[in-house]
Point group: C2
């Protein structure tokens, strides 16, 4: 039994109104894996880096107990690199550099030891690689969560629709839900998207929280209002990792557990954005996470007599 | 004991992707008054119209049991008129026509019978008129709620800051909170605004719900995801009216009652946007409102073990 996560493991260079980093360890699988590791101790990563990714860099994952057997290291090649600059509102950003490097011809190899995969998170990557990953697992996992973005809707919509048929949960943001469905109303968008394959749809709204749809019920999760957002990089991946990590821990898959999983995922994301890069995800504890989750409870609870 | 509401009583002509109206009865005090009337039966309006506003038009208010003694009818003058067109997203709109007419020299006269005012809602109007209204009440009401908008921040910031010192609750949207405080983070914005006078700040976020701040606690209220929004006109006024109407009904002024008041206000606003103009506010019942409020409960409740 394990939780397998595919996605990028990469270098990021980030600039926000609060500061600037050199190349630091980032990538969807990194954030998601670190986040999931606070809930579940069998987290395994499928990804690829170049030989510029040092043993020390890999230690960021290993320290969180993450299995990196499926992390290919390509000799003589360079890791995926992204550089971006956030605007004052922290909601919009400019991409300054995108170097695909090893990602250009990434072929996801699933180690034999990963075939016990029960929970699969397909982090943001080409829909084709996401599909290959599912196909290379001998047994269909109990739960498949797919994260994607507008870019793949622009350049690979057909591939994306193929893989959508194969997953249980889709996580996208509100603009992406509108793009994917062609509907402005999120209620109508959700109805259309749920017909494309997923049983559950999570619409992420950043500082406005998230919505969960299953075709019958709707859940609206709040976001924690934060005084300081230092670096939003990886918030969505951290959310997805916390979400599936919590579900793996609970072992129960229904609407109510998904609601809580969204709260736990949001709590982890709130830690993530308070510091630069993955720094906010390095030294959490069960107590810290629980205290943060209780903040979400206080934030949104009301009693109608 | 009564709930006094100032604001416009006016004609609107509305165009949305779903249709178009001729001149229909609108205005901040109309929406707020109708909304409040579902919770409290002593709602009194202070406003002004021209003689183009027929007895039938005034009946829209009277039918809801609203006291119109403070509604001045100016012979030979015309009512305030606004025409607007909403974009497909329903969040942005173009103002096509604004005719101030009677509003240009509105002098709010408080009838003697209104001096029992315990709850005062200062709907969106010039800050100067809002201030005059407070000053013309012999006894300071138990609760003063102020609604305003970016326009007054642009043209009458000093006046606005004067009246802010005199009120208990301020309701504005997120962009306005940022403009008023000069802070992007809503947490920081709230802290600054609460130093300007109000004890409570409500930040309205439209389809993303609302936040309530009192300087110590924060409450995040969800918005009901709707399949169809026909006409957003008056949603904010309806919210404010439902909010203060519920508080007047309960007679209790604390953070927990305010939380519920926000849910009731949001429920009324959700009815408002489902139809054109004030139509959604004409034939509600206690049962309908309660059922809608329970939808908000289901939408946002979760249980952490």
């Amino acid at each position: 039994m394990s939780l397998v996560i595919t996605g990028t493991v990469a270098f990021d260079a980030i600039e926000t109104p609060f500061g600037k980093t050199d190349k630091i360890v980032g990538g969807a699988a990194t954030y998601a894996g670190m986040s999931a590791s606070y809930f579940y101790n069998k987290v395994k990563i499928v990804s690829v880096v170049g030989d510029d990714f040092s043993a020390e860099n890999i230690d960021v994952l290993k320290k969180r107990g993450i299995d990196v057997e499926g992390l290919q290291v390509k000799e003589g090649e360079k890791s995926f690199f992204w550089a971006g600059r956030y605007h004052t509102d922290m909601n919009s950003r400019d991409t300054l550099i995108t170097e695909l490097n090893v990602l250009a011809d990434f072929d996801p190899v699933i180690p034999a030891s990963y075939q016990d995969c029960e929970y699969l998170l397909l982090g943001n990557l080409t829909p084709q690689i996401q599909k290959q990953t599912i196909e290379r697992l001998e047994k269909r996992p109990r739960l498949i969560v797919l994260d994607t973005m507008n870019f793949w809707m622009d350049v690979a919509m057909d591939d994306l629709k193929e893989v959508l048929k194969m997953v249980d949960v889709l996580t996208i943001n509100d603009a992406e839900a509108r793009q994917l469905s062609g509907e402005y109303s999120l209620v109508k968008a959700a109805a259309k998207i749920l017909k494309m394959g997923p049983k559950y749809l999570i619409i992420k709204k950043g500082e406005h929280g998230a919505l969960l749809f299953d075709g019958v019920q709707v859940f609206s999760a709040p976001a924690l209002p934060l005084a300081e957002v230092f670096d939003p990089t990886g918030a969505g991946d951290t959310f997805a990792g916390g979400f599936i990590g919590y579900l793996a821990q609970q072992g129960e898959l229904n609407f109510n557990t998904m609601k809580n999983a969204i709260i736990y995922g949001s709590a982890l994301a709130s830690f993530c954005v308070e510091k630069f890069g993955t720094e906010g995800l390095t030294d959490l504890s069960e107590e810290k996470v629980r205290a943060r989750v209780l903040e979400f409870v206080n934030l949104s609870s009301f009693v109608i007599k």
